[in-house]
């Protein structure tokens, strides 16, 4: 282990689902203490804390968490980066360690989202009594529903349909079968919010939200938290054999934003920044898509999963439909994708997601994934995207 490598020393996620008896601080504390215990260290070892909670981004979850589990005076970075908040928190801790400011850090992401409906769209204000232009478009009335849609299911539906327009084959049925896979995978994940297998007919016949996304094809709003302890290679070398054996190498940690594209002002471009992040990550890690034993990607909607097969270069450009049809992304396929159940079934407590997906990868690389273990997993990739946009990609490798 080279001294400038970064490693995950400990990592955990809470059960995703409904936690009416716990607030965000309780959940963050549960995850943080779990990660510290998993790493066999304590708050006194931490040199930095990066914390994310998107829906209450101004509340200072990091400092609240310190008061719950240990106030040591270390720097806290409260981060908010849409659905990439968790990955951003992790990467913030990684950057601090990489910069040499400390040799160990803690990253936490937490969200309370159970029962939340649409997270965007609509307007609290009624139409005015007299028309007067407002906002950046000089609009005289709310635009959601009058000029396209602001809702996430609708935006991501268009992203999937656009891929279909470009390359063909992206049918309602295909998207439903992607969702079928993730719901089937979740039956093996005791921490998933939903663990019910669903047939394609059930998925297609469920409540239509934004064609072609029905309700089970949308990420599940739920409560949850995840946390990770990162450590420098130099410090890891001084730790116990058991700590070194279970440590997972962060071979790549990348964050990108969306570069300008012609249509990005009318439909967010989630493709280019993901492709850029993947390219950088493969280069940093010195691995290629063909080396990946499993992938956790941001299936916030079934329509999103399809385009990210292509964006992460798991398949040839334009080949995502054929790639899925080949069975490659099922857990017994050549590139298992979202064996956790993904956001559609495991759930999507926003700020927790970007650390929980890394926990999933680590769980397999450590050989601790139980019934859903991908046998012999050595390399995995975790991807999140936050609309606006931010994309986090991490590549993780089993300790040699």
């Amino acid at each position: 282990m080279a001294s400038d490598d970064i490693w995950i020393l400990g990592i955990t996620m809470t059960k995703f689902g409904k936690h009416p008896e716990k607030d965000t601080v309780d959940l963050a504390a549960e995850a943080a203490m779990g990660a510290l215990a998993d790493a066999d260290v304590n708050m006194g070892d931490m040199g930095v804390l990066a914390a994310g909670n998107l829906m209450s981004a101004a509340a200072g979850i990091g400092q609240q968490l310190q008061k719950q589990i240990g106030q040591t005076g270390i720097p806290v970075y409260n981060v908010a980066n849409a659905c990439a908040t968790g990955a951003t928190a992790l990467r913030t801790a990684i950057m601090a360690v990489k910069a040499g400011e400390c040799d160990m850090g803690l990253a936490v992401g937490v969200e309370k989202l159970a029962g939340a409906g649409l997270l965007a769209g609509g307007s609290k204000k009624d139409d005015a009594d007299t028309w007067s232009p407002r906002g950046r478009f000089g609009a005289v009335a709310p635009l959601d529903g009058r000029v396209g849609t602001d809702t996430m299911p609708g935006v991501f539906a268009q992203i999937g349909m656009e891929y279909g327009h470009r390359y063909g084959g992206a049918t309602f049925d295909l998207f439903a079968r992607i969702s079928e896979k993730n719901h089937a995978h979740s039956t093996l994940n005791p921490l998933a919010a939903y663990t019910k297998k669903m047939s394609v007919d059930e998925i297609m016949g469920d409540l239509m939200i934004a064609y072609p996304n029905t309700r089970p094809m949308c990420s599940a709003n739920c409560d949850g938290a995840a946390a990770a302890v990162v450590v420098s290679g130099e410090r890891l070398a001084t730790l116990s054999g058991e700590q070194r054996r279970r440590a997972v190498k962060v071979s790549a940690s990348v964050l990108t934003t969306d570069p300008w594209q012609e249509s990005c002002q009318v439909l967010p471009d989630v493709n280019t920044l993901t492709r850029n992040a993947a390219r950088q990550a493969y280069e940093q890690a010195g691995v290629g898509p063909e080396d990946l034993d499993l992938v956790e990607l941001h299936d916030c909607f079934a329509t999103a999963e399809l385009v990210h097969y292509d964006n992460l270069m798991l398949c040839p450009e334009g080949g995502a439909v054929d790639f899925f049809e080949s069975g490659a992304t099922w857990r017994d396929g050549s590139t298992p994708v979202n064996v956790s159940g993904g956001l559609e079934s495991k759930g999507h407590p926003i700020a927790a997601t970007g650390i929980a997906n890394i926990w999933e990868i680590c769980h397999h690389l450590r050989g601790e994934a139980g019934d859903r273990q991908i046998e012999g997993a050595k390399v995995g990739l975790a991807h999140v995207i936050g609309l606006g946009s931010a994309c986090g990609v991490h590549i993780l490798e089993k300790a040699a």
């Binding site: 649409l118 000089g138 959601d144 529903g145 299911p153 609708g154 349909m161 409540l207 009318v266």
Partner: protein, 141 residues
């Protein structure tokens, strides 16, 4: 309103739903185009997001296009009537966001790649009698 005023203005005054919709002489959309690289924006920018140049000119956007993507929204925020078709239209190289109107909002009537044209319609009249005009796209026969 007196009889005289009604006779003097048989057509109620109109205001476009958004500033980038021009109603005269025929309804069309207007974009701010970067004079350096040609990137187009419907809202105001301080500098071009593509090339950072800071000069723009107003240009008319083609009123016909092709449906590049769509979704049929069946579930929306309270007060937003559903279902409706939200669409991404390629208007001769400029991507435009708008609803697909004057067609049934179901997958049998909406197909990727279909030719469409700009359509305008009243969305309501305010207390001063001004009619707001919205826009969308309809199938081009």
């Amino acid at each position: 309103m007196s009889d005289y005023e009604i006779m003097a203005s048989p057509i109620p005054p109109q205001i476009p739903l958004v500033e980038y919709l021009a109603l005269e002489p025929e309804p069309h959309l207007v974009a701010h185009e970067c004079t350096a690289c040609g990137a187009r924006f419907f809202d105001r920018r301080n500098a071009c997001a593509a090339c950072f140049a800071a000069e723009f000119r107003d240009v008319d956007v083609a009123t016909t296009g092709e449906l590049r993507s769509f979704t049929i929204v069946s579930f929306a925020a309270p007060g937003v009537p559903v279902p409706f078709v939200a669409a991404l239209v390629d208007c001769d190289g400029t991507s435009v966001r708008g609803n697909l109107v004057n067609t049934e909002p179901d997958p049998d009537h909406v197909t990727l790649g279909m030719k469409v044209k700009l359509a305008t319609f009243p969305i309501g009249t305010d207390s001063a009698g001004t009619e707001a005009i919205g826009y969308g796209f309809e199938p081009a026969a």
